[in-house]
Subunit: 489 residues, 4 copies
């Protein structure tokens, strides 16, 4: 039902040690409230877990949790649980030197399968010891990331991945049979991979508790210095990708497994300015609003621009994935999620441009969005009209509208008007934070025969939240506006 908040993506795990990261995640949790968080790099050297005393020393290995404990403590304090992704390979356990990203995640199979199993076992056992079995059973554990791509897994070798999955899944189940393990975490592009993987686990009776894949809609990249531009397919293509695993597994023994879309976004590039735009929120709105029909979770990649796969960002706005920039400035897509988080109760009705819910207190919430042209921003309609109707108890309603679009809550526009300052001064950061807030409008809505009617006009790329509550009028009987500057003369 609220699969949209089931998970969110993050930059590599050791970034969670940072103060700015923790401030950002705290804000995200306060205003959105995700249930799980997933990122790369658990076993990469920055986390310091696999620690032989010296090079290739198999005798004096410590599995060390100095940092992992800090990361997980932080998550739990912020009321979000890890969605563990097991990878990449510790340098000293790797079978080769190949790496991915600026921060050099090693993508090769382990040089020792038993040492890998020891690493997995020690880590999972430590987590169970520290956080308790009841807690850790709620953390899905995914094996590796996008093994269907040679950038992420040496030669995209499927047999090697199957061995990795089997070794890992069995090791986890030895720690506790109810821990949840899954995969194959594939990127779009080689969809058949999932079927082959499914055959493998079925044929070999390998444990599996969920299946996972990723979804993106961007086309070929046009690079400029410190940035990338890409074409985008319509957002409906994301929904098609969300739906695919259930289709592919229908009729197999895996048909009823949970399906997790463990990454999705428009572009998979952390330097594509489309992520910073008002367009982006309107583009994704129907996906967030309805994706829960198709998958058990779909995890926005990523909550923050704190993300170093292409190096340390060189400017405050740089096309990062984040709902937030460094220093907690809210992009329009942040508001899309925050608006969803303020909706309450079961769905009342739905349309191509809106979603209506109502909770048990009589509060009605409406999310509405403008349609977009995803081939040319300038062709998106300048205005968009909706006529909505919904039940309201009581004689009238208070309505608060929160608007984000080209005109409002568009902080990227403000930043560009400022001259695109790469390292803004504190004063400029304050202004940007103000410019990033949605516009607010409020008023009374008449109710007739138990229903309210609303004519709504959205601007270009607008996403709007309406919160409507029945009015219990406590205005005193003697109140008279005309007496504000003195009583009756």
């Amino acid at each position: 039902m609220d699969a949209w908040r089931a998970c969110v993506g993050t930059g590599r795990m050791d970034l969670a040690l940072r103060h700015d990261y923790q401030e950002s995640l705290a804000l995200i949790q306060r205003e959105i409230g995700f249930r799980h968080i997933r990122g790369h790099g658990l076993f990469s050297d920055g986390m310091g877990i696999y620690r032989p005393y010296s090079f290739l020393d198999d005798e004096h290995v410590r599995h060390s949790f100095t940092y992992l404990d800090q990361v997980v403590d932080t998550y739990l304090e912020l009321d979000v649980r890890p969605f563990l992704e097991l990878g990449f390979m510790p340098d000293q356990l790797a079978s080769g030197p190949e790496t991915v990203f600026w921060w050099k995640g090693n993508i090769t199979p382990p040089r020792s399968w038993s040492a890998w199993a020891d690493l997995v076992r020690a880590t999972v056992t430590h987590l169970v010891d520290r956080y308790g079995l009841a807690e850790v059973r709620q953390w899905p554990i995914e094996v590796w990331n996008e093994p269907n791509l040679p950038q992420f897994w040496l030669n995209a070798d499927a047999d090697a991945y199957h061995r990795l999955y089997e070794t890992t899944a069995k090791t986890i189940k030895e720690v506790d049979a109810e821990l949840q393990v899954g995969g194959p975490a594939i990127s779009p592009g080689t969809d058949k991979y999932l079927e082959t993987f499914a055959d493998f686990v079925i044929d070999n009776d390998v444990p599996i508790d969920f299946v996972s894949r990723h979804a993106y809609t961007s086309g070929p990249a046009f690079h400029v210095p410190f940035g990338t531009h890409q074409t985008l397919a319509p957002a409906s293509r994301l929904l098609e990708q969300f739906a695919l695993p259930r289709k592919q597994l229908a009729g197999t023994p895996l048909a009823d497994l949970p399906v997790h879309i463990t990454e999705f976004n428009s572009s998979y590039r952390p330097d594509n300015p489309i992520h910073d735009t008002a367009f982006h929120a309107a583009y994704l709105a129907p996906v967030i609003a309805t994706g829960g029909d198709l998958a058990d979770s779909f995890s926005y990649w990523t909550f923050s621009d704190m993300f170093e796969e292409e190096g340390v960002p060189t400017a405050l706005f740089h096309g990062g994935f984040g709902l937030l920039t460094h220093r907690q400035i809210k992009k329009p897509t942040f508001h899309l999620y925050a608006f969803m988080a303020r909706m309450g109760g079961p769905e009342l009705s739905r349309g191509p441009d809106h979603l209506i819910s109502a909770d048990s207190t009589g509060r009605v919430t409406v999310l509405a969005w403008a349609p977009v042209d995803c081939t040319d921003l300038r062709n998106s309609p300048e205005t968009h009209h909706l006529r909505l109707s919904f039940p309201v108890s009581g004689p009238s309603a208070f309505v608060l509208r929160s608007r984000v679009g080209e005109e409002h809550g568009n902080v990227w526009a403000a930043w560009r008007e400022m001259g695109s300052p790469r390292s803004p001064l504190p004063r400029q950061l304050d202004w940007l934070r103000e410019a990033a807030e949605p516009a607010r409008e409020h008023g009374r809505l008449p109710v007739t025969d138990g229903r309210a009617h609303l004519d709504l006009t959205l601007g270009r790329h607008e996403v709007t939240l309406l919160e409507i509550t029945p009015v219990a009028d406590e205005t005193p009987s003697w109140w008279n506006d005309s007496h504000l500057l003195g009583g009756p003369s």
Copy 2:
């Protein structure tokens, strides 16, 4: 120069023990930053300073600072200094039973003048011991409050006040000759009182370091349950009152003393809804902007609705003086002060509807306000136009506009639309906080020959802040908006 921020008023001193008070004052200091704070009740029983062991026991008296230390520690932590007002009379030191306010401040002279002097001496000495002489010398000490009114000083007996002033001032100077003492803190209505007081201190060579009075513009009260309506004189009448002490003392030995307006507001009633309106900010804007020409300080009465002179407020909005309501909701007049606090540097120019400043970094700030009709809110102009011009360095400027008026940042209107909920739910408080924020607009301003020109339209009762900064453009040479959805094809 910035006399407007020299001091702010507060409800009685022991309210400063409260958490909500401290949260509110912290917000005030963060966004406005007053230098001093003044309120009643230092010696009233709620502060527990004068503590005889038993009734009228003159032998076992303790001067006790359990609460005073908490209050002053809080002020200094929040970077605001006390402007001490010595009063009212401790019950057990009083010569009669007469009190003022719901919280029963005793308004009678001391039954023992030496015990009063002991109280003053012990208190001031304790403050010097705890906070240091250098610090306490920066705290003006005012003797009593509005002794010209019989509600505040028994029979408004001027001779008795003169004796109180003399006793007190001499006692303070015995502790340290550089401590600053003053009075007579009179209300408007009996302006001659100041001249009589001045004659007394001059003739008797009584120490005096500053003179003080109050200013209000409201007329007769029309009471309704839990509220009061009053007519208002034009705001210029406040400025006339600010100017009066210097006029009255011209040519006397007191001519060069600092003049402190230790209270001012439109209405002196803590239950007059005019304080909650957008009108109120526009009404006071010219006073805040120019009052510093006439007095060394003018202290807005009061920073918060936490104020119990007429009992505990019965509704969130109740016509309190506060810049903030309980629970830190910002009224329009809060924003007027916050806008002033964001202006910087010396005044560039001034008009009947605006003030322009510029600081050393090239930032220009404009405060503009709409004229008001203070006999009938509905007659205030619907729109008001200004044409401004000011120097800007560089080829263009970024401008951020923050707007408060009938349409924006008008939280009282939102509260009334909600049905005037007396004890709003947490959710309603959140909405009110959002509705209370100014509207923000931003854009680029062209600069020609080193000057920018601006046509500005204000709505009814609007107060606007413009912050204008020269743009140092860091937009890369290769940037091209049309590539956002893919590069050149």
Copy 3:
């Protein structure tokens, strides 16, 4: 089982608005963690709930929750629930002028029983609206305080109390039948009162969900200025009082009702220095450790010295009830509770001078206390020896001992050595906070045949906590202490 933490007492309800109070309660909750909190004054004027527009105006009454919401929000944020006590009488609803305490709680019956019922109904209904029925059903509601004493209820009129109880209980049940209501909250001294009350509710079929009474052990008062001394009965007398209600109600229809001791302490005076001593913790230790056998809750009166029944305290240490002084300085009795809070799991064994528990992780905790002479502090034994034995898994155990007594964690002694400074300087407060901490000792304990044996010597008035955990030794095989200043030569 942990009835000792079921409830704690507090000064009157509006003190909960204070910052120092909230800081103190936060500390209490962090280190002890009570489940409920109970104090006087919910309906007294300081809370501002009963608000007629003018004197005896029955037409324009507001029930106002401006402060109550702040208080309850604070409690819930600090994870403690109200144990509501309905009283005292609002001044304008009172039938007479009689009051109790410095803060003047009115002790007379209502002048209008229907207006009282309206007040109760409005308050309970508001709480249900704001906090939800499921939540409020967990808040016991007690009718009045110590109606058996003429200081607290006019003439200690039992019939009038019965009418008050009946009116109130029925009103509450009209709001919701599962809300819990009880009484009669009597003080020790007229124990029969409970039986009469029980007869009344049984005979008249009046709703009742729990019974309550208080327990104190102090004898006649010897007053000195700003203080009181009293003799004390042995602590076992508290346990006898805890046990009495179950005895008295045995065989009646009320026999199975929960019994709440809604106040207990040694002395009932808030100015008796015995509360500040190390003796006090040792005196109460057996009561805290075993009182849960006899009652469903027993509520220490009170958690903080912030308490104004005898006026504002005139010195940091003044014999207040508090576990904490103003400004969060921990008295020995605080540590007794904090030690209890660190015990875990079910009781293993118990003796006249100790209690042993063990939790599921193998951790064993011991609370041990020295016997006291409650007729003369100087006769309490200088040392006390215990020999304890308990099961420990593993070859050895780590033990951490925390000691409080005359020698350690005795901040009152430090304060007296300082010269009893009534308003300590910040530096002195820091030193007192340090002096207030328990002494800590640690070491390894050998384990033989699965048991550890411990010879323990306690100093005068000592209360000690031992925390014993099995050692899982991770010391590396190559570790050698003698190499600390260089390897083998």
Copy 4:
């Protein structure tokens, strides 16, 4: 005078982005309060400052301050200023692949001297723009680290360092002539290096505002897995090294320059357990107490165990330099500094085992330490006696003693008793924090003829702080201890 607090060392600069780091530094600043902080890695890739668009791209270089701003903002918020160390070389500006440390700081000269100058200029200019010239002039700027060692500067090539120094110093002075630049930051072992460097700057008229070097006392290393043991020279050898620059430069034009010991410790290894011991505080006590005679600053290397030069630590206690471990556990040497921070006012007297100060309020503070045997810990004396005498105003004094040594505040001992848990559970961390606190003792000290005399016994490796304040006795005349359990009978 308080050169001991002028500076402290830190792990590499980007560690300052971490939350645990910021928490630790906040604690350090609250309880000690250093004025400057110095560490490596400003220009290393983790800080992301030097950012060419692509490999060796000299056209599209950004100097990027995304992280630097966060680091410096943090420092200034915590009231500590950077002592900038310019180094190491950005990978893409390096002339070779040689690196130092686990985190791979590049140690080669720049491949382009003008690009290096651009980097320095851009960085310093940015800091001046953001923080103001008045602020940045207070930040010493040191060129590189230990260029006399081939591990830190390719081939320890002195000519190349001279060129680096000259290029850098001149570039800095072009930004502003009053910025402070210095070097050569050499390690002990090749002391002549400073003289050669001095000749170079004098002969070539190169700007220099201070000279710097390091000091350590450890001998050859004996390695064990995850640890190192070393012999130690007597602590007086540190003082000799502090004194050396002034001796070497006497009579030269650089004779009057400030001398900064920009690193010192016993061992230079971050995995030597000696850093964790009680011995370490006693060993360093005379150095901290008297080093200010010999140098303008001496910077303890480092404030926290958060330090990755040998990789991520594998256990909570691992012999790190830190005054604090990860998660803010205080080692004995922390307390040595915290004790120094609590001393006040000018030195009264000094001895081989103590230092006495007195401030203007009459407070006397004594730091006393036990002598150590630095060849064998077990030979350090078991007890050490001092007889001290000092002036006290008033008839008696309150004394608070804080003790750290083998018996008290020795958290490493507690950790070992626990079984050396590498990743302690939260509960164990709490216990360790408690075990880490000094023991506190307090009492009254008689004063005779204006002086107090004190016989003091220290335990093995003890460092003790005494805080002595004159007593102003406020004990009431009627106080009588024997009345505590009732008045006179």
